[in-house]
Each structure stands twice: as structure tokens, then as C-alpha cells.
């Protein structure tokens, strides 16, 4: 994957008024998710009501940006032609420290990925917009989330 991801002609998000805070934060390099003030659970993806208790008292908070890799796939034949120049690339299921799971783009690390790897938020320009991608925590490097 040596292609400039930002030059890809990939489909962007279909943003609604409800989901705009997530994407506005993403554009600033942050990961913002909803939290329910009634049951205390974190919520992803954004909803008008809490999927756990149906409360409407949802507030936006910055997430820690830490997560664990639940699964991943190296994509050789993308489902959308806009991704062809980047193939093979990796997508993964990231269980956020706050609880919910997000599907994201996983940047390459220095060793092969494994389920269970710890990940950090790594905002990345893809197709002309900054998206909340993730990268593996490198055990030997002193790195901090951006």
C-alpha cells in the first residue's frame, strides 16, 4: 500500500444532522461518540435514542482513542472500485475502550497483525477527508495518540 490514500476516489460518509458531530470531530482528528446519561453506556454508531435503554439523553464525548482488534481482513478485491489502487489494505473491527465496536481502516504496523492487538486512533486522510483510522500500538516505540 504505497498509494496516497487521500487521492483515492472512495465514497465518503452519508452524513445526517444526527451524525454530523461524529464527522465534524473526525475532520479535526478526534473520535467522538455518544454516551447515555441514563444507563451510562457508550453508543456507536450515533442514534436518536440509546439502543440499550431507549433513553433520549445522549451526549457527545471524546473517546480515548484506544481499542482492541477483534478481527481484521486484508482486502485484495475491494467491493468498491475506488479502493482498487490501495489494495491490498486492511480493515478491522475495533472494540473501543469505551465498549462499542467500530469498523475502521487499519494502518500497517511493523509486524503482522493479530486478533487481540492493541490499537490507537490514527486520523488519516482518505479520499479527501480525515477519517478515524487506527494503528497498532508498537511495543518498542513511545507513541501517543494524536
Amino acid at each position: 500500500m504505497s498509494v496516497d490514500l487521500n487521492m483515492l476516489k472512495t465514497p465518503g460518509p452519508t452524513i445526517t444532522a444526527l451524525t454530523k458531530p461524529f464527522w465534524d470531530a473526525a475532520a479535526e482528528g478526534r473520535l467522538k461518540i455518544q454516551h447515555c446519561e441514563d444507563c451510562g453506556k457508550a453508543v456507536f454508531y450515533p442514534r436518536p435514542i440509546c439502543p440499550h435503554c431507549w433513553s433520549k439523553r445522549l451526549v457527545w464525548k471524546d473517546a480515548s482513542g484506544r481499542g482492541r482488534l477483534k478481527s481484521f481482513s486484508e482486502v485484495h478485491k475491494p467491493g468498491h472500485p475506488g479502493w482498487l489502487p490501495a489494495a491490498p489494505y486492511v480493515v478491522g473491527l475495533v472494540e473501543l475502550a469505551e465498549g462499542p465496536t467500530i469498523l475502521s481502516f487499519i494502518l500497517p504496523g511493523t509486524r503482522p497483525l493479530q486478533v487481540g492487538d492493541m490499537l490507537l486512533l490514527a486520523p488519516t486522510s482518505i479520499g479527501g477527508r480525515v477519517l478515524p483510522a487506527f494503528k497498532p500500538v508498537e511495543p518498542r516505540a513511545e507513541e501517543k495518540p494524536q
Binding site: 482486502v75 490501495a86 493479530q114 487481540g116 482518505i126
Partner: protein
């Protein structure tokens, strides 16, 4: 058979084709419906219930009315069953339930699709489109690859374990002249040598999309006795829908079929190991692996060893997808799930010809939609 909640008395199937040209889905629905009603020995006017699938793009709304009008039917019960690959099995119990409820007497359950060369891209607007697609995850292949990787990580299952499922499907398809892979067997080595699509998923572990159609006719067990063909009874059903996007799945290594099958076994007073035929939804190899485990045929993570211990052919001790499964037959979109119902009826009638299984009294049919999200299981019994 006592305990029967309804009976399948007619089946229809169109030979799968890679592409159609200038044929509408509606036309194919008419063709396959005719075959099923003819097989049942019924007059079209006897059909008073209609279950259909969604017709994305072609008929966005009012689908049952459009199809009823097209077929000249005036059903007293009509509905869309939108459960992806679980739609076929989902239709069967709904048809029985509608009959038991006194809404109708003979239900046509029909799914078909054309497959034109230049199909438009999906106009979807939903959470997957917004939160998965921008990260490079479009389509089902990646979702099932993620499920497969999770299974390998949790249980140490191997690429070879999964490849055995595809190879067995291809082997069974060699006895079905209508299968898209008839005359084209593929062994484990061929599956493993096929191109990597989304790791760890190889090309030959993925169904081939085809055009086709499948239909069945359901009536009451009582009425089934006076029909042309030997009835096949619905003995039990279960269903569960848990999520849509793979990121929201409650588990990556066990699915809603576990609970759906448990209910179907409980309703029918049967157990997984008693089934003479396993007609298991197989969009991808991982789906069969998880279903074998969720059915309780082996312990979680044990499907590979289970496969090595059993013969899945029509002559074997555990016949599984004797029509070739969708991995061998081809996947006519939503009708793909119904191929598992139609084959089970053939086997339980004793009409499977060259691939007829020996004892054919009980069959488990599973359906699965989206990303191990929508699940329906039915237990069928011979009359």
C-alpha cells in the same frame, strides 16, 4: 404426521444462469410460480396466500400487489419477507402460521431475480453505508472474512478446515446437472489455491451470483393429504434477528441461528443429530462452520474435526447440501436460501434421483441473511 404445522406440496426451480438479458424479475417470478403450482397439481385460483421478497430497484414498494396482479391472483394474505438469505425458510413458517390463523389455505412462496450485465450500484442510505463503506468495507465478502478470521483466532481453525466445506459442496454438485458448477469439481487444494479475496477468504469459498428462481407451495397438513405429491410437513421453526452490520454483531463466532435452531428442534421434538439431511445455508464456508457448531453437532470450534469424521455426500452418514449447496449450485440472490428448502423437499419425497439419500424422514433447513444477522431454521418431515 401428527404435529405437522403445514406441508409443502409443490416446488419450482429455474436453472441458474450467470446473466440474463432483458428479462425482468417479475417475469421470472411468474415462470417459477407456475412450476410450483403445477407441481402441486393446483389451479392458480387455489392460491390464496402470497409471500414474496423485496424487489430492490425494480419494484421499490407495493411488491405483493404488483406480483399478485401480474399473476392474476387475489390472495387473502400477502406479505414481503425481507430476511436476506433467510427469506425462503422464513416464508415457509409464515405460510403455515397464516394458514393456522385461518387467513388462507394455499400459500405461494416465491423468490427470483434477474441478473443484467450493467446493474446499477446500490442507492443504500443506512449505517453501513455511512460508517463502514468510507473505511473500505463494501459488500459481504469483507464482513464474512472478519467472521472467519475471528473464528480462526478464537479456536485455531485452519484455512484447510474451511476449504473442506467448499470442496464437499462442489463434490455434491457433481450429481446435480442444474448446478452452476456441475462438471466443475474443486478439491481442497483447488480451493486453497484460488485467489485471496479478503483474507482469510478465498474465491472458491464464496458463492457464485447467478440468476434463478425457487418457489414452494404450502397448505394445511390436512389438505396436503389429497394433493398430487407426497407432502413434506413443517414440524418446527425458529427465527432470530440480532444486527445488520458485522461491527454490531453480539458475537463473531456464534450467530442467531443457534437460538433459531434450538426453537425449531424444541417445536418439532427433534435433535440435530437425528436429521437425515442437513440443508444448511452456505453463502460462505464460515457460515456452514458456525451453523454446524451452533446446531450442537460438535463443540464450539470443533467443526473441522467434525467434517473429517463424517461423509457429507448423499451416501454418507451426514448428507449436507446434497444439491451442491449454494457454493456448488450458485446463488440466485434471495432465492438462494430457498434452494435449501426445495432440495430438502425433493429428498423427503424420495425424488432426488441419483443423489437420493437413504433414510429420508427428517431435514434441517437453515436460512441466513446479511452478516450472520437474520436467521431462520425449519425442521421438515416426510409424510
Amino acid at each position: 404426521m401428527s404435529g405437522a404445522r403445514g406441508s409443502i406440496v409443490g416446488i419450482g426451480e429455474l436453472k441458474p444462469q450467470r446473466l440474463t438479458s432483458g428479462v425482468t424479475t417479475l417475469e421470472m417470478i411468474a415462470e417459477v410460480s407456475r412450476l410450483a403450482v403445477l407441481d402441486a397439481g393446483l389451479e392458480p385460483a387455489a392460491i390464496d396466500g402470497l409471500l414474496v421478497g423485496p424487489q430492490v430497484g425494480e419494484t421499490p414498494q407495493h411488491v405483493p400487489a404488483t406480483i399478485a396482479e401480474y399473476l392474476g391472483l387475489a390472495p387473502t394474505m400477502a406479505n414481503v419477507v425481507d430476511l436476506g438469505g433467510a427469506s425462503g425458510a422464513g416464508m415457509v413458517w409464515r405460510a403455515s402460521a397464516a394458514i393456522e390463523a385461518g387467513m388462507c389455505e394455499a400459500v405461494l412462496c416465491v423468490l427470483a431475480n434477474n441478473r443484467e450485465e450493467a446493474a446499477p450500484r446500490s442507492p443504500n442510505r443506512n449505517p453501513i453505508r455511512e460508517f463502514d463503506v468510507p473505511f473500505g468495507a463494501s459488500g459481504a465478502n469483507i464482513s464474512y472474512a472478519l467472521l472467519m478470521q475471528a473464528h480462526m483466532a478464537e479456536y485455531g481453525s485452519t484455512a484447510r478446515d474451511f476449504a473442506m466445506i467448499a470442496a464437499a459442496a462442489r463434490a455434491n454438485a457433481q450429481l446435480n446437472p442444474d448446478a452452476i458448477f456441475f462438471g466443475k469439481p474443486a478439491d481442497v487444494e483447488a480451493v486453497l489455491a484460488s485467489p485471496m479475496i479478503a483474507s482469510p477468504l478465498h474465491l472458491l469459498e464464496i458463492v457464485m451470483p447467478v440468476a434463478g428462481g425457487e418457489a414452494v407451495v404450502v397448505t394445511s397438513a390436512e389438505r396436503a393429504r389429497s394433493m398430487a405429491k407426497r407432502p413434506v410437513h413443517l414440524l418446527g421453526a425458529g427465527e432470530k434477528v440480532t444486527h445488520r452490520a458485522v461491527s454490531q454483531a453480539p458475537s463473531l463466532t456464534s450467530g442467531p441461528l443457534k437460538s433459531a435452531m434450538a426453537r425449531a428442534f424444541a417445536q418439532s421434538g427433534t435433535q440435530a443429530r437425528e436429521m437425515d439431511l442437513l440443508s444448511l445455508y452456505d453463502c460462505y464456508t464460515i457460515m456452514v462452520a458456525t451453523t454446524i457448531e451452533d446446531a450442537g453437532l460438535c463443540a464450539p470450534g470443533g467443526f473441522g474435526a467434525w467434517l473429517r469424521d463424517h461423509d457429507l455426500s448423499h451416501k454418507g452418514d451426514k448428507p449436507l447440501n446434497t444439491h451442491g449447496g449454494q457454493l456448488g449450485f450458485g446463488q440466485p440472490d434471495l432465492a438462494g436460501g430457498m434452494t435449501h428448502v426445495v432440495e430438502a423437499v425433493r429428498q423427503l419425497r424420495g425424488e432426488a434421483g441419483e443423489r437420493q439419500i437413504g433414510k429420508a424422514e427428517l431435514a434441517l433447513v437453515t436460512g441466513n441473511g446479511a452478516t450472520m444477522s437474520e436467521a431462520t431454521a425449519i425442521v421438515l418431515g416426510a409424510a
